[in-house]
C-alpha cells in the first residue's frame, strides 16, 4: 500500500516537474504556427508560418549558423582545458588546490557585464578582432562548468586502468586515447554540452564585445522581442534557440546510456 502511494507520489512529482518545464513551450509552439492570435481566444484565429518567414527575412539562417559555430568553438576550447584543470584538481598533487579551484570558478560570481566592459577596452588597445574576443571571453565563462564536471569525473576515475594499460605496453599518449577518453566520454560530452550552451545562449558578451557586428540568434530574439506585434517571429526565433540544445541533450543521453550498458 505505502509502496504504491510512494510510487504514485513519484509519478505525480515527475509529471508536475515536466509540466513546469513544458507548459511554457505550448504557447510558443502555437505562436510558431499562428499568423493571428488575439487576446481572449484560446487558440490562434489564423494559422500560418509568417513568423518563420519574418525571422528568415531578419537573417535567422546566418544567425543560426553563427550561434552554432560560436557554441561549437567555445565547447572545443573549453572542454579540453576544463579536462586538464579538472584532472589536476582531482589528482591531489597540486599545491594550492583550493585557491586554484576558487579562481577557476570565479567567472560564475563575477557578472559577465563587468568582465565584458573591462575586456572591451583591452581588446581595442590590443587590436584583437571582436570575434576572437567574444570566443576568448566565452571560453573563460564556460571553464567553471567544464572544470567542475571534469573534476568530478576524474575524482571517480580509477587510475588503476592507466597503470594496467601502461604495463600492457601503452604509452601515456595511447593510454589517453584508448583508455581515458573512452572511459570519460559521458563526462566529456556533458562538459562540452555545457560549454556549448554558454556560447550558444550568450547575449551580453556578444553584444558588448562583438559590438553588434556579430549577430547571433539571442541578439535577433532580443531585438525582435523589444518591438511590438511580432510575437510569431519571436516564437519562431525562440524555437530555433531551443532546438540545438534539445538535440544535443538527446545525443548525450544516448552516449550516457551506451556507457552505462558496460559500466556498472
Amino acid at each position: 500500500m505505502t509502496a504504491r502511494v510512494r510510487r504514485l507520489a513519484g509519478v505525480l512529482g515527475v509529471t508536475a516537474l515536466a509540466g513546469w518545464f513544458l507548459l511554457p513551450l505550448v504557447p510558443l509552439l502555437l505562436w510558431g504556427v499562428a499568423d493571428r492570435w488575439s487576446a481572449p481566444a484560446v487558440l490562434p484565429q489564423e494559422w500560418g508560418l509568417s513568423g518563420w518567414a519574418d525571422a528568415t527575412a531578419q537573417g535567422a539562417g546566418p544567425a543560426f549558423a553563427r550561434s552554432s559555430a560560436l557554441g561549437a568553438v567555445v565547447a572545443v576550447l573549453a572542454t579540453p582545458l576544463g579536462a586538464l584543470a579538472g584532472r589536476a584538481l582531482a589528482s591531489g598533487h597540486l599545491p594550492g588546490r583550493a585557491v586554484i579551484g576558487a579562481v577557476l570558478l570565479s567567472p560564475l560570481v563575477v557578472p559577465p557585464f563587468v568582465v565584458a566592459m573591462g575586456f572591451d577596452v583591452l581588446l581595442l588597445r590590443l587590436g584583437l578582432p571582436a570575434e576572437a574576443g567574444v570566443v576568448l571571453l566565452l571560453t573563460v565563462a564556460a571553464l567553471p562548468y567544464t572544470t567542475y564536471v571534469m573534476r568530478t569525473a576524474y575524482g571517480a576515475y580509477d587510475t588503476g586502468f592507466d597503470d594496467e594499460a601502461r604495463t600492457l605496453g601503452a604509452s601515456p599518449r595511447q593510454v589517453l586515447r584508448r583508455v581515458q577518453v573512452p572511459l570519460l566520454a559521458p563526462s566529456l560530452a556533458a562538459a562540452a554540452f555545457l560549454a556549448f550552451l554558454v556560447g550558444w545562449s550568450d547575449y551580453v558578451v556578444t553584444l558588448l564585445v562583438g559590438g553588434g557586428r556579430l549577430v547571433t540568434v539571442p541578439l535577433l530574439v532580443a531585438s525582435a522581442a523589444s518591438a511590438v506585434g511580432n510575437e510569431a517571429q519571436v516564437a519562431a526565433l525562440s524555437l530555433l534557440t531551443v532546438l540545438p540544445p534539445v538535440v544535443l541533450l538527446a545525443s548525450i543521453a544516448v552516449i550516457g546510456r551506451r556507457a552505462r550498458q558496460v559500466l556498472p
Partner: protein, 372 residues
Amino acid sequence: MNGHLRLERLSLRYASQQDPALDGVDLEVPAGSSVAILGPSGSGKSTLLRLAAGLEQPTAGSVVLDGIDLAGTAAEHRGMAMVFQRPLLFPHLDVLDNVAFADRIRGVPRRVARRRAAEFLDLVQLPGFGRRSARSLSGGQEQRVALARALAAEPRVLLLDEPFSALDSGLREEMYELVDELRLRLSPTVLLVTHDHREADALGDTVAVLDGGRLLQTGPMRRLYTRPASLAVSRLLGGRNEITGEMRAGWHHSALGAVRVAAPTADGPGVLVVRQEAVRLTASDDAGADARGTVVRVRRRGPRALVTVEICGPGAGSPALLTAEPGPGQVLSVGRAVGLRLPADELAVVTAEPASAARAADAVGSAEDGQR
C-alpha cells in the same frame, strides 16, 4: 616469454614519511620460476611490484632484467604485464578486445589480434566468451580474462598483485590450478605478492617474506615453515607456538622440559617455534611423548581443530601453552590429559624478539651461512 629478473638493493623513501617504504631489497627471480613475496598489508609488497613494473621510481637500487638495468626504461617498454587484485577490465571494450589490447597497442591488425586473443581465452578456459561485455562476467571469470590479457602481452615477467584475494576459496583453488597449468604450458617468469601464506605456497617456488620494507627470509615454503629465521617470520606464516627457554648442546630447555632440536643451533636463550600442524597429540601414557599436558581449549576450524594444551614442566615455573591442529578423526575435549610428540626436525629455535628488522635480517644471513 620468460626473463630473468633481479632486484638489487631496491629502496624507496617517500619524502613525507620517515621510514622507507622499501629498504634495500635484494631478490632473484630466475627465468621460468615463480617467486612469491609474502607480507602483511603495508609491508611494501605492492610498492615492490610497482617499482619492478616501472610505475614508480626507486630512490636507490635497480631493477635488472636479463642483465639490463631498467632505470630510465618506461613502464610500457619493460615487458612486465601486471594483474591487479581488481580485474580492471576496460569497460568500453568487450572481453576479446580486452585480451587483444596489448597487440592492438603494438599495431597488430585487428583481425590477427582478435584471433590471438581468442587463443588466450581458450588457454584460461573461457572459450567463446570473447563477445561478452567485460561487466557481464563473474569475479572469477574477470580475473581469468585479466590473466589472459596479461599473458597475451607476452611479458618477460608476469607480475601478480594479490590477484585472487577478492575471490572466495573455491574459486581461488581453481585459479591456483589454472596458474599451475599455465606455468606448465608457457613457463612464464612470475613475481607475485600476497598476504596469505597458503597462496604463497600454492603459487611460488620460492617465497620471500617482506615486513616493514625489508626482506626477512627467502627460501622454499617448506623450509620457511619448519625453520623460520625469526619470530616475525613464524608469525607471518601463521605459526602459533612460541616457547621461551634456553638451548644447551642441541636440546631446548623450557617449561616443556628438554626437547631435542635437529637443526644446528647455537647455545643460549632462544624461543622454540613449532608449527601447530607438526605437534602430534597422543595418549597420556604414550612412552614416546616429549611432553604431557591437559587440553584447556578446543576451537573448531572446519575439518581440523585448534587444540590448546597446557603443559606443566618439570620445574615449578609457569605452565606453557602449545597449540596443535589435529585432523578430523581425533576428537578431544577440554580437560583431557594428552601426550605430545614434537618431531625434532620440525623444530626451530629463534632469538627472542622484538629485535629490529635489521637484526632479524642478520640472523637470516648467519643462519644460512651456517647451513652452507
